[in-house]
């Protein structure tokens, strides 16, 4: 049984059809990449799965439950968390407080000491331990991207959806974050990742979905995707470095 099933979902904003009958499955423990040119509907797809928007048609099943019309705060409690393409930290909260909001949000019933232990673990894992007292508004982008991941992990998510985590980062920062994603995958998290840095994504994942103008035009291994004529025409052709 797949962890997540997206069944023929569509979404329009006014007269603009942004997602057109997209279907795919995500199995537990997978690390899947989603690529596509600007305006392909990648972030809208994430917004639909995470409950920020609701699809006009189709359904979304998570852990065998229909979550199509559920609100984001209910989905988080079911084990589905996300990060944002344009970072959305709580700017006036410290790094530690940003993570604690996630603890409150999912209503952890653990003891204070257990919560503190979990907090330290997440800070350590995401490389934010030294910055725990810093206000989020004072952090550089690289740390904010990590904070996005840290907050999502803090919800105790089973499925982590990362929206362009590498965008705007330096090469060394991308490498560090790729390592973090690998670590999170290795401890059992299922990860769905949108990325524009195609080379990094194809290195990281075993399966890639390609969106183009709101449609899923290809699904396969990175190698299959690299060689697909339609994908090259629609997207990879622009990215000379991945050829």
């Amino acid at each position: 049984m797949p962890l997540l099933e997206v069944r023929n979902i569509s979404k329009s904003f006014g007269g603009l059809k942004v997602i057109k009958g997209v279907s795919f499955n995500v199995d537990k423990g997978e690390l899947i990449g989603i690529i596509g040119p600007n305006g392909a509907g990648k972030s809208t797809l994430f917004n639909l799965i995470s409950g920020v928007y609701h699809p006009d048609a189709g359904s979304i099943i998570f852990k065998d439950e229909d979550i199509t019309k559920m609100e984001p705060y209910d989905l988080v409690k079911k084990g589905l968390a996300r990060s944002w393409q344009i970072v959305r930290p709580f700017r006036n909260l410290t790094v530690e407080e940003n993570i604690r909001v996630a603890f409150y949000g999912v209503g952890f019933k653990d003891s204070l000491s257990e919560r503190n232990r979990r907090l330290d673990e997440i800070l350590q894992m995401t490389g934010l331990l030294q910055h725990r007292e810093q206000l989020a508004k004072n952090l550089p982008l690289g740390h904010l991207k990590r904070l996005e991941v840290a907050r999502a992990v803090a919800t105790g998510a089973e499925l982590l959806m990362l929206d362009e985590p590498f965008a705007g980062l330096r090469v060394d920062e991308i490498k560090g974050l790729m390592h973090l994603v690998t670590v999170l995958h290795s401890i059992g998290l299922t990860i769905l990742i949108i990325e524009h840095v195609v080379r990094s994504l194809l290195e990281l994942t075993r399966r890639v979905l390609v969106l183009h103008e709101g449609r899923l035009i290809k699904e396969g291994t990175p190698e299959e995707v690299r060689r697909d004529k339609m994908v090259i025409e629609a997207y990879l052709g622009e990215e000379s470095e991945v050829a």
Binding site: V52, F90, V101, V106
Partner: protein
């Protein structure tokens, strides 16, 4: 956003607060100046009102019609007391309960409104309510309002202590809730980014509702005490101008989302208003100019600078 603890160590913060409270309890009654006591009593009542407006700001609910709750409670108190012959204390309790319930009910139509739409929605509510109380003159006394509300006491000092005690109790409750309770972190997260908070499991509307109920209840408390103190209530108590304009100015001059700041702002604005009464012709202009200058020269409100000054003084005394 201004975080009080980052500006002052807790001990100096507590010391300053304690000194201020002692001064307010001891000095004005000792001076036996009825006008000073009147100004401070009004200042305390408006401080409750200003703090009630500020608690809404903790979840991004900028209300431009907060006078609705203040006026609703003032009229309810007046009607309960004059028509139903209710004891003023019972009338106050009933009026606060009514405003809290109305606040709860309003969360339904205001559920999806944000930003300017929310602010204008609230302003519209206050306008409709003001027109209504003016129109139904057989019940509300129309433009003249309702007179002869039974006061809690006729003694200046007694009135001052009632208003001060109510203000301090409101301040402690609201400050603790907004800054030190388990809600504090969530309020600040919601204020920074509602959508991100939702996606971390925060049921945002629940916390907005909590702030709206608290804001309406405490505005109601201010309005009810105001009615029993002045023994008269008229449509101005509910009107956007002057009453909402006054509370927004108090909040912004004092320092938004600090609870204590708007309370200080209320005392300052009431003092300025009475000070400029010596020049009635230019009173409004002088008052508006001073408030504008404070907003321009002291961004973040007077609370930020008051705490810095208090810290400096305490350091000097200690050294």
């Amino acid at each position: 956003m201004l975080r009080l603890k980052s500006l002052a160590t807790l001990s100096s913060f507590k010391i300053t607060g304690l000194i201020l409270i002692i001064i307010m309890v001891v000095v004005p009654p000792a001076l036996r100046d009825p006008y000073l006591l009147h100004i401070l009593t009004l200042g305390s009542i408006y401080a409750i009102f200003a703090m009630s407006w500020d608690i809404l700001m903790y979840t991004n609910q900028l209300s431009l019609g907060h006078s609705f709750f203040f006026g609703l409670a003032a009229y309810s108190t007046a009607l309960f007391n004059s028509s139903l012959r209710m004891h003023p204390i019972l009338a106050i309790i009933a009026a606060v309960a009514i405003t809290a319930i109305v606040g709860l009910g309003l969360s339904i139509p205001f559920f999806k409104l944000r930003g300017a739409y929310y602010a204008l929605g609230m302003a519209g509510l206050a306008k409709i309510a003001t027109l209504t109380v003016t129109a139904y003159s057989d019940i509300t006394g129309g433009e003249e309002g309702i007179r002869g509300i039974t006061p809690l006491t006729t003694d200046h000092v007694g009135n001052y202590y009632i208003a001060l005690a109510t203000m301090l109790a409101s301040l402690i409750f609201l400050y603790y809730t907004a800054e030190h309770s388990r809600f504090s972190l969530i309020f600040r997260a919601v204020r920074d980014d509602e959508v991100a908070a939702k996606c971390l499991g925060i049921v945002v509307h629940k916390y907005r509702l909590l702030c709206l109920v608290l804001g309406s209840a405490f505005a109601g408390l201010g309005g009810a005490v105001y009615a029993t103190y002045l023994t008269i209530v008229n449509p101005n108590a509910m009107a956007i101008i002057p009453t909402t304009a006054l509370v927004v100015t108090m909040g912004m001059v004092g320092g938004v989302t600090t609870i204590i700041g708007p309370a200080l702002g209320a005392y300052l604005i009431v003092f300025l208003d009475s000070f400029f009464r010596v020049a009635e012709n230019i009173r409004l202009l002088a008052y508006a100019l001073t408030a504008t200058l404070i907003l321009l020269l002291l961004p973040g409100g007077i609370i930020r600078y008051a705490i810095k000054a208090a810290n400096y003084l305490i350091r000097e005394v200690r050294s």
